[in-house]
């Protein structure tokens, strides 16, 4: 057991995180590049627990706090001749896999989960000579490796930002970095908008956090593709209201199987079209299953007559 060594490595990692944060703040003229971390710092022993907690902490830092900044900087590695062999990308990716492997119930019928399992087992085998570490020595080997790799990764991150600082054309980079940070809206910003909408439509008894959690990835992706210059509060409100409207749709009394049987059509886009049509009819005038199907047939016949009369 070498707790001192783990401790010193961990202190090194923390120092590097702080240094990187400070350097980014300076380069971005005071704009934070990382989301604050709320997760508890990991213990440094016993090795198994320390490994679990360290991986969780690193995951939170790499994929939540540094969700935007770290991949952005990694794209600049080739420009500054950092990470020739791609080992940092492998390290970041194995941290994600290890966290999934250790904290989730993997579905071994799923290709993605199988891949995660096999990557992690290979990694453990390379670090501690066994695909599933058992004793403290094995866990310690794994822990030391992840801390060494993290140290190297963060040092190079810091070097990358230092390069940007000294780059004659660094302004191009920081402008783009700024623009991405501006487009990045943490969960709590959406949660505020959700709460406001709920209040405005008189449904403040709903939990805004739950709704935000459900749609966060989707809304973030939408805004990333918005044209530049959008107003967050306005656009976020549109997205939230759209989601709420669809959330509150009643269950239809018919299924797509009913539609296929009634119209004698095969699965495909036409079924989707009629299904949406049925939804619109039902929202306007809720009816029984038979009556809804009748209306749908009438509606479709009218539409085809309309198409036939077109010049």
């Amino acid at each position: 057991m070498q707790p001192a060594s783990v401790l010193s490595l961990w202190i090194g990692v923390r120092d590097l995180v702080d240094r990187l944060d400070g350097r980014c703040l300076a380069v971005l003229s005071g704009e934070p590049a990382f989301v604050p971390m709320a997760i508890k710092e990991p213990k440094t022993s016993p090795p198994e627990l320390a490994f679990y907690q360290t991986v969780s902490w690193l995951f939170a830092y790499y994929f939540e706090a540094g969700r935007l900044t770290l991949p952005f900087l990694m794209e600049l590695f080739p420009t500054y001749q950092i990470d020739h062999d791609g080992s940092h990308a492998v390290h970041r990716s194995i941290v994600r896999d290890l966290r999934t492997f250790m904290q989730h119930n993997l579905d071994l019928a799923s290709n993605a989960d199988l891949r995660t399992k096999s990557q992690c087992e290979s990694w453990f085998a390379a670090q501690c000579g066994t695909p599933s570490p058992e004793d403290d020595t094995e866990w310690l080997s794994a822990l030391l490796r992840v801390l060494y790799d993290s140290t190297a990764f963060l040092k190079d991150m810091d070097r990358c930002v230092a390069n940007i600082e000294g780059d004659r054309y660094g302004q191009i980079i920081t402008d783009q970095w700024h623009a991405r940070l501006l487009r990045h809206h943490p969960k709590h910003e959406f949660e505020t908008v959700v709460a406001q909408v709920m209040h405005d439509i008189g449904q403040s008894h709903h939990d805004p956090g739950q709704i935000t959690n459900r749609y966060y990835d989707r809304w973030s992706a939408e805004l990333r593709n918005w044209p530049p210059g959008y107003v967050f509060v306005t656009e976020a409100r549109k997205l939230v209201e759209h989601a709420l409207l669809h959330d509150q749709d009643p269950l239809l009394p018919i299924t797509t199987s009913d539609i296929m049987r009634t119209f004698a059509i095969r699965p495909g886009p036409m079924v989707g079209h009629l299904w949406r049509q049925a939804r619109a009819i039902y929202l306007a005038d809720p009816a029984s299953a038979d009556s809804l199907l009748e209306k749908l047939v009438e509606c479709e016949e009218a539409a085809s007559r309309g198409r036939a009369n077109m010049p």
Partner: protein, 1129 residues
């Protein structure tokens, strides 16, 4: 959303081409960071618009400095997030007016490589390959310094570059096809280097709805070009961004971003018994261009679906599985299994279990429509599912699978898991092609089993699996049960039909089933006997609209053969309107090749039909289920009939006359286009396959014979009037011309211009050879062309003998030229049999002619014997082996039963011919009697024959034929075997013997031998035994370098062992110098020789042997790959 739905449907259907304008870098911040820097450097006073600012920078800094500076800037700009979202889609190609490398990097990822196209002289072979995305820089890239590849840096250069950009842009419609969608993003038609007037002609040539332009906020009302494009419906504008649309489409489940299932199946992983193996991307992508790798994703359990969807899947399986396998259909159990499949599976597995370099492929043969394609798909699926053997499937297409890629795949798996690979090739090609692939893999030492399909063969053998023409009664019963499990209501009438046991019932089944499951319950099921009428009725319905309005149309409608919308469209009531003549044409052009199982490339189809209106073509393809279009793994789109049996039916009824069919083929040939991809392309592959079917090698040769000259004329027209010269097509043209003369002469009178036609054929072939040049490239094609030249000369010889106005001397002179051509072909590939056969049949004709004098006759016979005797009989496929025996017999009986008389012998010597020695030696050895009487028990005495020849060696010192025979007889006398006949032959040669052999080889080479490679190997072995090791090793390396011509297991066969004079294998010792990481290969330092030779650890049963360990006692064996350590038996 409705519009978007249509857009996504188009995008999913493909081909999907992206055009990226120069404004794409603005998408993130609203300003282009690259352009901002360029403008800043140009000075604030610049009036230059857009990227023209580059030119101002060049004026003050110079071209190279500017390009290098811009390249450095580009390294500091990450691709915008929006572009990354766009790049997540599996595009078929990207064209861009942007000149930076930033956008290119956005498309490179772990499932896709990118290949940049900078100028119009480079033609990618697979321009729609989604795994190797071709990205065309219309205006060059700043990463390049060559004037033709970099962006224009002045007004004048821009004018020149615009021409290249226009040429590159003209490829777009070809790549797009009538079915595709062009998506434009980041384009400002006012400031982009590609202005709208230049873009307009391309956009105008496309169909309505084919172009979608994103991020358009305003449209100038007075823009004529745009107004025209919008008015015709060709261009659809979208206000929102493309990245936004794609992201939303993904959320709604309308489109898949990231790797498509068929591009990246389960992360390219194959699970075998000892665990999952990830296949490297490059290897995967290369193999996938021509084959499907059956990985874990293919074998994954199919997702649950509703009964309606299952029924539809079954119908789709019936519709498409004759063209290509639908793997999910196999997973769902939609394939009916015929009884012969058990035998096929058993033979295949037993071959896979035997770890040897197999010499013969397994071939499934039978009539059309008997279930071969479905069976081969099932074989591949079932075998892969066992998890014991990596399996790849090659479908029926014009482009042959790449032998080198398959070899690499097999080797990679052997290195990983020591498992043999199963290659299922449903090519429906000539059996020889499967033999060739199997032989090639064997020559590389691969453990692989090739299973192929072909039409009914007469041959029999353990590797040939015949598919019965009729269903057995138990199969018919099984089919009934199977259909019931698919919700098919089996009536007593159907039971009766099935009991007729016609396997074509399986083909017809698709049309017997109504389009939806609900149709079954209403009892709408056609009767089998009516089906053919109905099918033809469907065709007529398209061609004669009024007829289609009759009750038949209603019946077809009810039966699901056509639908209501289609009837409307086909009647011309659709506003787009389809011209029935065009449809008729389309059916002809698809069904004529389709009846031979060939699928036509869509671009060629469009050109043959002469339709510039791509929209109509696309509409017909989408709406009419007699034909269908599909995309293969390399992005090639082809059109095929649903089933070749249906195509046969339609062709018979619609065309009937052979001349009309030939006419269609000629039109297809004439529609080929030189431009696009000049060297090798799908169109050439397809036309050659088509000519193989309707030409002299096709099954219907007598029927098409009268059309050979027309077909040759179509090819000549292409070559002469359009300068479309391709050596492969020229070979076909010459072949057709020769066969036309031969057929006409056989079945009617000798054509008066026969000699002229044959000379023309030779001239075409000479030109083709000139085009190919010398060197190692195109060796096989040059062999084929040389053989065809020999064949043309053979036909000329025969014609001259028949032609009363030609002299015998003229015939002999032509025959001498033939000999040269045969020699040339054999020098290129000494293992080729065809040139020898040409020589044999020409000799038979010459020797049988009464006007040919005796010595000429004898010389010709000896030339032929020399050729026949040096053919490596063991490597021939059954058909050629039989022909070889027959030829030997036919040629030997020309000499008669009596031995060569002394007078005849002296006469030959007087005429300076050594043929007499050859014949005498064959008489002494007993070979002549053996060939004449095909007596297997004839005793052959090689020592006396060798002594006879040796005693006269001075007299025939320059006669290659006699020297060949001398060498062979000496070898047989000393070893008791023919050269290369045995594995690990011990060579009881003393020093003097080796000196004799080396001297003879030298003499043979000086006399112009075509057996260079074989003799070179023997020479290297000789030098090895006479302790001239450095020279020996140098020669072994030369043999290995040239051994790729050997496409059989002979290449790796350990033909002899290093031996001592009494004939015992020599024993050697040494320590391991190295072992590669896979443990498959290593090197051992041989103490006795003081040199390193390779060894295979598994051969020594020491898979874990390490460096410096002693290997133990071993022999040294020799093959065309050089010496190798060999475990003593």
């Amino acid at each position: 959303m409705a519009d978007n739905e249509q857009f996504f449907r188009r995008l999913n259907q493909g081909p999907a081409i992206l055009f990226l304008g120069q404004e794409y870098l603005k998408s993130e911040t609203g300003a282009d960071p690259l352009l901002a820097q360029i403008q800043k450097r140009s000075g604030a006073s610049t009036h230059a618009q857009g990227y023209n600012a580059l030119w101002d920078s060049v004026a003050s800094n110079g071209a190279d400095a500017t390009l290098s500076w811009v390249s450095q800037l580009c390294q500091r700009v990450a691709p915008p997030d929006q572009l990354k979202a766009v790049a997540e889609f599996a595009w078929h190609a990207v064209f861009s007016s942007a000149v930076d490398p930033i956008w290119l990097s956005a498309f490179r990822n772990d499932w896709r490589d990118v290949a940049a196209v900078y100028d119009d002289e480079y033609f990618p072979k697979n321009p729609r390959d989604r795994r190797e995305l071709h990205c065309t820089y219309l205006f060059g890239s700043v990463t390049q310094s060559d004037l033709k590849l970099r962006p224009p840096l002045s007004n004048l250069e821009f004018a020149m570059r615009r021409m290249i950009a226009t040429n590159l842009l003209q490829r777009l419609p070809d790549v797009l096809t009538p079915l595709g969608t062009l998506v434009i993003d980041g384009y400002d038609w006012d400031s982009d280097w590609l202005n709208l007037p230049d873009f307009y002609p391309i956009l105008q040539s496309l169909g309505p709805g084919q172009v979608h332009c994103f991020g358009v906020s305003e449209v100038k009302a007075d823009d004529q070009f745009l107004a025209e494009l919008l008015g015709s419906g060709k261009v659809v504008l979208h206000r929102h961004t493309l990245s936004g649309a794609l992201t939303r489409g993904r959320h709604h489940g309308l489109i898949k971003l990231g790797a498509q299932e068929d591009l990246e199946r389960g992360e390219r992983r194959i699970t075998l018994r000892n665990g999952p193996i990830s296949v490297p991307k490059e290897l995967w992508n290369n193999v996938s261009r021509t084959a499907t790798i059956l990985d874990d994703a293919v074998l994954a359990p199919a997702s649950p679906i509703s009964d309606e969807a299952l029924y539809w899947e079954f119908r789709r399986f019936l519709f498409e599985s004759s063209s290509r396998p639908l793997w999910t259909g196999y997973s769902r159990g939609l394939a009916f299994q015929r009884e012969f499949e058990d035998q096929l599976q058993e033979v295949t597995l037993s071959r896979l279990a035997r770890l040897t370099t197999n010499a013969r492929p397994i071939i499934v043969h039978g009539q059309t429509g008997t279930g071969k394609t479905v069976a081969l798909g099932a074989l591949a699926h079932r075998t892969a599912a066992l998890g014991a053997f990596p399996t790849i499937f090659v479908g029926r297409k014009s482009q042959r699978p790449s032998q080198t890629d398959i070899d690499r795949f097999c080797q990679w798996f052997e290195d990983q898991s020591e498992t043999p690979t199963l290659i299922v090739w449903d090519g429906m090609v000539d059996a020889s092609e499967y033999y060739e692939l199997q032989g090639y893999l064997a020559s590389r030492g691969r453990n692989a089993v090739v299973v192929g399909s072909t039409y009914k063969l007469e041959d029999q053998g353990s590797n040939l699996i015949a598919v019965p023409d009729q269903l057995s009664s138990s199969e018919a019963e099984g089919l009934l049960v199977f259909l019931q499990s698919m919700h098919f209501e089996v009536t007593s009438r159907h039971r009766e039909m099935l009991m007729q046991r016609d396997p074509n019932y399986l083909v017809a089944l698709y049309r017997l089933l109504p389009p939806t499951r609900s149709g079954i319950t209403t009892g709408v099921v056609l009767e089998y006997e009516r089906l053919q009428d109905e099918l033809l009725g469907a065709v007529n319905a398209v061609l004669h609209p009024t007829f289609a309005m009759s009750g038949l149309a209603a019946a077809l409608l009810a039966a699901g053969i056509i639908d209501e919308q289609k009837i409307d469209e086909l009647h011309g009531q659709n506003p787009a309107g389809i011209n029935s003549l065009e449809v008729s044409d389309l059916i002809d052009v698809v069904t004529v090749p389709g009846r031979f199982g060939l699928s036509i490339p869509i671009e060629l189809l469009a050109r043959t039909c002469g339709t510039s209106d791509f929209a109509n073509l696309a509409q017909v393809l989408r709406g009419f289920d007699l034909v269908h279009a599909y995309e293969d793994t390399a992005g090639r789109i082809v059109v095929a009939p649903r089933h070749r049996l249906e195509a046969q039916l339609v062709v018979q009824a619609k065309l009937g006359d052979v001349q009309e069919e030939v006419g269609v083929v000629c039109r297809i040939i004439e529609a080929m286009r030189k431009s696009a991809w000049p060297d090798e392309n799908d169109e050439i592959d397809f036309v050659i396959d088509l000519l193989r079917e309707v030409g002299p090698r096709g099954d219907e040769r007598p029927r098409f014979a009268s059309g050979f000259r027309d077909l040759a004329s179509a090819l000549a027209n292409l070559r002469e009037t359009r300068n479309f010269k391709n050596p492969r097509l020229m070979l076909q043209e010459a072949h057709l011309l020769r066969e036309w003369v031969v057929t006409e002469t056989w079945f009617s009178d000798r054509p008066s211009d026969a000699q002229e036609v044959l000379e023309k054929a030779q001239a075409i072939l000479d030109e083709a050879l000139d085009m190919l040049g010398e060197g190692r490239g195109h060796r096989r094609l040059r062999t084929f062309i040389s053989t065809e030249i020999a064949s043309a000369l053979g036909a000329s010889t025969m014609d001259a003998l028949r032609n009363p106005s030609a002299t015998t001397d003229e015939a002999v002179e032509i025959f001498d030229r033939l000999l040269e051509s045969v020699r040339a072909a054999r020098t290129l590939d000494f293992s080729a049999y065809n040139p020898v056969d040409v020589l044999a049949w020409s000799t038979l004709a010459l020797a049988r002619s009464p006007s040919v004098d005796e010595s000429t006759r004898m010389d010709a016979i000896v030339d032929t014997f020399d050729a026949l005797n040096t053919v490596d009989e063991e490597l021939l496929e059954a058909h050629n082996a039989r022909t070889l025996s027959k030829r030997k017999y036919e040629v030997s009986v020309l000499l008669g039963d009596d031995d060569l008389s002394e007078a005849a012998f002296q006469n030959l010597i007087a005429k300076d011919s050594a043929a007499g020695y050859y014949i005498r030696a064959m008489e002494i050895s007993g070979d002549m009697r053996y060939f004449q009487h095909e007596m297997r028990d004839t005793e052959r005495i090689y020592d006396q024959a060798w002594e006879y020849l040796e005693s006269h060696r001075v007299e025939f010192a320059h006669d290659n034929r006699c020297l060949n025979l001398l060498f062979d007889y000496w070898w047989q006398h000393k070893t008791g075997h023919r050269l290369f006949e045995e594995d690990r032959l011990v060579l009881p040669f003393d020093h003097a013997d080796w000196q004799y052999a080396l001297g003879l080889i030298k003499q043979l080479r000086e006399s112009g031998s075509y057996r260079d490679l074989a003799l070179l190997l023997v020479e290297a072995i000789g030098l090895f035994h006479t302790t001239r090791l450095p020279q020996a090793m140098q020669l072994f390396r030369e043999v290995e370098r040239n051994s790729d011509v050997l496409r059989t297991r002979r290449r790796i066969q350990r033909i002899a062992l290093a031996s001592d004079a009494p004939g015992k294998p020599a024993l050697y010792h040494g320590n391991v110098r190295w072992v590669d990481p896979t443990g498959r290969r290593g090197g051992v330092y041989v103490d006795e020789l003081r040199l390193e030779v390779p060894f295979i650890p598994v051969d020594f049963r020491k898979p874990n042997i390490r460096r410096n360990e002693p290997l133990g006692e071993f022999h040294i064996a020799f093959s065309f790959l050089g010496p190798i350590a060999d475990l003593p038996v």
